[in-house]
């Protein structure tokens, strides 16, 4: 019989705990992946829908880009960088943090209650609820598109630029995660958030891949400050391709996009935690 008390200790204890936690996450992910493989047809369809979804976005973008030599002063290769960075960020979001989008379903299925009585952060357990097969399709297409964008880009890929593009993609992933996490905070109490999630995903797929400067001022302002999808790929890609000054916001704000992504994610997590603390359960 053990009555455990949390181990206290310095940095080494914390890092041991961190390694252990990472190992647990990896093991559960492997099992979840295996579970999805058991349903062969469903697995393949999951991969396919991820790929087809993204390809349909690419088809639309390429039609647009071949009809017009550029969009609002952006060359087609610059636009391609926005589109590919967004798609990559989206694929990584689906892979690592995308389960938060199904929060309303998880709440209604009663998955949250047992999470609350296990010694692991609830948010992490939600992410480990199942393996996102469609992320494989998303990422395959995204990596292909990203490779094409790099190939067509005339930029000199210095270490600094490479570091910034990585930070930009990760920041983009966090912005998307922040938006869906904020919605998920509401999902604890209102199941209807699923429609909002669909709308948000649609919105990001439609407007996230293009230079927002082609839109009316009000619209691009809304996509910067209300639903901040400008920070996902438009700002970091613009900074990389030398459009830093003409994106309708101070250059520093555009440059800080990856950092803003991080801040937004932290804030959304705080909101989510607050909402969790007010969770009143299903079935009273």
């Amino acid at each position: 019989m053990t009555m455990t008390t949390p181990s206290t200790g310095g940095g080494s204890a914390a890092s041991v705990r961190g390694v252990r936690a990472a190992r647990v996450v990896w093991r559960i992910t492997k099992l979840n992946f295996k579970a999805r493989l058991e349903y062969r047809g469903e697995f393949l369809m999951g991969v396919a829908i991820g790929a087809i979804w993204q390809v349909s976005i690419i088809v639309f973008a390429s039609v647009l880009l071949t009809r017009f030599p550029g969009l609002g002063g952006w060359s087609s290769s610059d636009v391609l960088l926005i589109a590919s960075m967004r798609m990559l960020a989206h694929g990584l979001y689906v892979l690592f943090l995308g389960r938060i989008q199904y929060m309303n379903v998880l709440v209604q299925e009663g998955i949250v209650d047992p999470c609350l009585i296990r010694p692991m952060p609830v948010y992490r357990q939600v992410q480990l609820a199942f393996f996102p097969v469609n992320a494989i399709g998303d990422l395959v297409v995204a990596v292909g598109l990203f490779a094409a964008a790099l190939q067509r880009s005339s930029l000199d890929w210095t270490a600094g630029r490479i570091a910034y593009v990585v930070a930009g993609v990760l920041g983009g992933m966090l912005v998307e995660a922040a938006l869906f996490t904020a919605l998920a905070a509401a999902a604890f109490h209102f199941p209807a958030t699923s429609y909002w999630c669909q709308w948000l995903e649609e919105l990001m797929g439609t407007f996230g891949s293009y230079p927002l400067s082609i839109l009316p001022k009000a619209a691009s302002a809304a996509f910067t400050f209300v639903v901040p999808l400008a920070f996902i790929a438009y700002f970091p890609a613009g900074v990389l391709t030398g459009h830093g000054g003409d994106m309708g916001v101070p250059r520093a704000l555009a440059v800080a996009a990856p950092f803003i992504g991080l801040v937004a994610f932290v804030l959304s997590r705080l909101l989510w935690n607050w909402s969790l603390s007010r969770y009143t359960g299903v079935n009273g």
Binding site: T5, I28, D113, T280
Partner: protein, 394 residues
């Protein structure tokens, strides 16, 4: 008593909106919603000691699950305090998680698409159970619950009974000192139920776990619980041993015997005349029915009851009805013996050719207990009045 589970003035209030009837009402609710506070649990106090099994009983919607959810840390109490193995559950969830195991019979905690055994492995990792201890426990649980027959099947394809057995094992893998079980034998056949009861008894007696259990299965209560807490309308109605519920809510019995020896019949007749002033008349019982039902006053003075306490060993036993040699014995007063004790006395004293026993079973007792209203509830029906008077009489 050194309490492992302690509820002190625990209350939970849910805020909901009242739905007004009709489309107009619904639109009005949309514009100006009428919010009401629904008290699910009010001022609940109880303590459970180490190695004790307590059954939390009550009708549907009485507040049992809400109480368990507060004690497990899933819900934050509106007021009052919960203390489980020295931890306030909702405040220190992860620490509490190591101390408790929980099974919610209606919902699984296993991974739906994985074989149960792989869920066990995940839980081993989450709780950090050393491999050798894990194997030991898995073997033990398999021995008691026969899990290996189906633990390689995906949880999605398990029957309810199989699934809950896996849930039980999963909840104990990390060897928690405290276990909460919300309807753990739901959907099980009698054989499996018996197996699970043995398992639970083993956990309490051999492993000294503290168990809090809710169930609607009265056989289970009778087999497992030494103590029950009866909760209704969110409040504790009774906290005590099972006999206490029987006593307060109509735990009555009858022994119907046909006496072989005419001398015995005369002896009873003589006793009846001796205490003849006790009842309003000497005729059969008030309704002529067997008289076993929730509304009977168990201990108090009973119409037609003839006290036999002047016979040696017959304290608390009386005659309810008699037709010639056919006598119906029943309990009298507070110190009435159980049906088994009374039976021993009756067949020890009299020669009996025919015998039938009737005991108010626990289901009947619980029915009258559930129907009894706590004071202050607006729908105090006639049945509640009957039970209230019964409890005063007893």
């Amino acid at each position: 008593m050194n309490a492992v589970i302690e509820a002190r003035g625990l209350s939970k209030v849910f805020h909901t909106t009242v739905r007004r009837p009709g489309l107009g009402g619904a639109l009005r609710s949309l514009v100006s919603p009428e919010r009401v506070a629904k008290v699910a649990v009010r001022d609940v106090d109880f303590r459970v000691g180490k190695g004790e099994l307590l059954a939390l009983l009550g009708p549907n919607g009485a507040g049992k699950s809400t109480t368990i959810k507060m004690l497990t840390g899933i819900l934050t109490p509106t007021s009052g305090e919960a203390l489980v193995a020295g931890v306030v559950p909702h405040r220190d969830r992860e620490r509490n998680a190591h101390n408790i195991g929980a099974v919610f019979g209606q919902r699984t905690q296993l991974w739906w698409d994985l074989p149960a055994r792989e869920s066990f492995a995940i839980l081993r990792d989450i709780y950090g159970v050393p491999e050798d201890r894990y194997r030991e426990r898995i073997d033990e649980f398999d021995g008691l619950l026969e899990l290996s027959e189906f633990w390689d099947t995906r949880v999605r394809h398990l029957s309810l009974g199989q699934r809950v057995r896996c849930d039980l094992a999963a909840s104990l893998l990390h060897d928690p000192p405290v276990v909460f079980l919300d309807e753990p034998t739901i959907g099980m056949d009698v054989v499996v139920k018996e197996q699970v009861r043995r398992f639970l008894r083993h956990q309490v007696e051999e492993r000294e776990r503290t168990v809090l259990l809710t169930t609607h299965d009265m056989t289970e209560v009778a087999r497992l619980a030494e103590r029950v807490v009866l909760i209704n309308h969110g409040r504790i109605v009774l906290d005590g041993p099972l006999q206490e519920i029987r006593r307060r809510f109509g735990g009555t019995w009858q022994i119907r015997a046909t006496l072989a020896d005419p001398a015995d019949v005369q002896e009873i007749e003589r006793q009846e005349q001796l205490v003849g002033g006790d009842g309003p008349d000497g005729s059969p019982g008030p309704d002529g029915s067997p008289g076993v039902g929730g509304s009977h006053s168990p201990g108090g003075p009973h119409g037609g009851q003839r006290d036999l306490s002047s016979l040696p060993g017959f304290a608390g036993i009386g005659v309810q009805r008699r037709e010639g040699p056919r006598v119906v014995f029943g309990p009298v007063g507070d110190g009435a013996p159980s049906v088994h004790e009374a039976l021993k006395v009756v067949i020890g004293r009299f020669q009996v050719t025919d015998l039938a026993l009737e005991e108010n079973d626990l289901e009947d007792v619980m029915r009258s207990a559930y129907l009894s209203d706590v004071p202050g509830q607006k729908h105090s029906s006639s049945s509640s009045a009957a039970v209230t008077s019964a409890s005063q009489g007893g």
